[in-house]
């Protein structure tokens, strides 16, 4: 607690006012509206609405399309989080072994961080475009009837690849920092005792990286849930069929394309609950600095 402060009474209010105003107008008011709307049923012309309690939630949660998009989201997020973290960790471990040239590799690795998700999606679609993508040709030559625009598995693979590619940079930076924070004396002691590098990685380094890994797990899940909207919108549009329609994509689709407000609002509220749960999870575990050392 700070002992010395300025005595002014009005000034601090003026200083927090801009952020409070924007927060109230663009966060709390819309969030409140989402809650209100999620309990209302609008007539098709939007002229009147009636209170329906949790009916919208019940309908959304029993809608096969919603359950499908929930499943798509879980598969997509798990794949993206796993591959983005595994590849980044592998590369960070390699970078640790290198004495000269670390800086160069880091500079080259951070590029995708600056690429918009939608553009990342377009780049991958361009490389793997079934008609003129250079990298689609070898796939076809191998006898795979590659077509992400028609085949749902191919569509999923393509958006997972693009989303993973974009997130590797971020994870790499955190794993490099995490590896550097591991006390070298521990690793040296293990090496002197004759532990192999592989053995000391799994018994010392990996457990000590747990705080970084948990943090990244939450960040990557949030990324896969929300920030990948651009990739999906630009590459598959949720298709083919509904094979790549994630929860956020469905909120957008129902709210802005199909104009089913009550359902879209109920979905927004469910998403808020998911984010709040994830954030709480993050604070509970990260703040305690999980590791099993």
């Amino acid at each position: 607690m700070r002992r010395t402060v300025f005595p002014h009474k009005l000034l601090p209010w003026l200083l927090v006012a801009p952020q409070l105003a924007i927060t109230l107008i663009f966060f709390y008011w819309p969030a409140g509206q989402a809650f209100r709307q999620s309990m209302l049923k609008e007539d098709p012309f939007g002229l009147s609405s009636t209170f329906v309690g949790f009916a919208n939630f019940r309908r959304v949660l029993s809608d096969p399309n919603y359950l499908n998009s929930l499943q798509v989201t879980v598969i997509f997020s798990a794949l993206v989080a796993f591959f983005a973290m595994a590849i980044a960790l592998f590369l960070a471990v390699q970078a640790e072994k290198i004495v000269r040239g670390k800086g160069f590799y880091r500079t080259m690795m951070i590029w995708p961080y600056a690429v918009a998700p939608a553009i990342a999606g377009m780049l991958w679609l361009f490389m793997f475009n079934p008609s003129f993508g250079t990298l689609a040709r070898p796939l076809r030559a191998m006898g795979i009837n590659w077509n992400p625009l028609l085949n749902s598995d191919h569509a999923m693979i393509l958006i997972v690849a693009a989303a993973t590619w974009k997130q590797i940079s971020y994870n790499f930076l955190f794993f490099v920092a995490g590896l550097q924070a591991i006390p070298r004396s521990l690793l040296e002691a293990a090496a002197i005792d004759g532990a192999s590098r592989r053995h000391s990685f799994w018994t010392i380094t990996f457990p000590l990286l747990a705080p970084t890994t948990f943090f990244l797990l939450v960040v990557n899940t949030v990324y896969a849930l929300f920030d990948t909207f651009g990739i999906i919108h630009a590459v598959t549009g949720g298709g083919p069929g509904k094979a790549t329609e994630t929860l956020v994509y469905k909120v957008y689709n129902d709210g802005f394309v199909n104009l089913i407000m009550g359902d879209s609002a109920a979905q927004s509220v469910i998403l808020m609950v998911i984010v709040i749960a994830l954030t709480a999870f993050q604070f509970r575990f990260i703040e305690r600095r999980v590791h099993y050392g």
């Binding site: 700070r2 010395t4 402060v5 300025f6 000034l11 601090p12 200083l15 927090v16 801009p18 409070l20 107008i25 663009f26 966060f27 008011w29 819309p30 969030a31 409140g32 989402a34 709307q37 590849i87 592998f90 590369l91 072994k97 004495v99 590799y105 500079t107 690795m109 951070i110 590029w111 995708p112 961080y113 600056a114 918009a116 998700p117 939608a118 553009i119 780049l123 490389m127 003129f132 250079t134 040709r137 590619w165 940079s169 930076l173 955190f174 090496a191 590098r197 943090f215 929300f226 651009g230 919108h233 909120v251 957008y252 709210g255 407000m261 879209s264 609002a265 927004s268 998403l271 954030t279």
Partner: protein, 289 residues
Amino acid sequence: MAEASDSPLNAPPATRMLAHFWMILGVIVVAFPIYYVFIASTHATQTILRPPLPLIPGPEAGSNYSEAFSGGVSRIGGVSLWRLLANTTIVALGIALGKIAISMASAYAIVFFRFPLRMVCFWLIFITLMLPVEVRIQPTYKVMVDLGLIDTYPGLILPLIASATATLLFRQFFMTIPDELLEAARVDGAGPWRFFRDILWPLSLTNVAAIFVIQFIYGWTQYLWPLLVTNSNEMNTIVIALKKMISFADADTPWNLVMVTSVLAILPPILVVVLMQRWFVKGLVETEK
């Protein structure tokens, strides 16, 4: 590297070579999509549509880029490349600078003053961490319509500048400033403004630079929000314009110009990240943890 040459942790040369091999492979995978679109932007449309694309820059670089800037992009997207770059720059700078300004001000108030409801203000801001724009798009959109902010720069910028992350970071940093510094400043008769300008601001520069980079990238790469609040082509950001060009593609689409637009959508944020790497990496790793 400060480590002793006889440390048992130094990888043997063979392991080190293997590590280089994996890193080079990693860099190729990471950089290839960007390199590939750059290569495509230097070829004619016919070459782009007839795979495989050569792996070296083609002869059309000059003509593609000059055509794109001198009206070629306007013919496909209905808006000039200059305008798109200007829009995106305004949005990215507006979000980065706006966030820094309002979050520094509120963190300053919360840390260096005592006022009623101080912790309520803090929690009101803190909770917004849990409400990304994606979960409240429809009602936020309605607020924008009611306020007449569709197709305006404030409409593109304002909803994105109130985030708790920057405020939390500045609060955390301000709390590390020793009490003695503030006491000394007050003994010397410094008010809140002079203390901020002469002492706090110079100490905060590294943090400001880090947040600037992170938020500039965040602003430049926005997608869902600009997609919703811009109807007119004139107000599009470059990412949205690119998506529109691709969706309405047909046999006549000049792919060479689309590729030029992609390169220009990617390049500015990459330059910012690479040139400000030192602050960016430090800021990212230290602030988000």
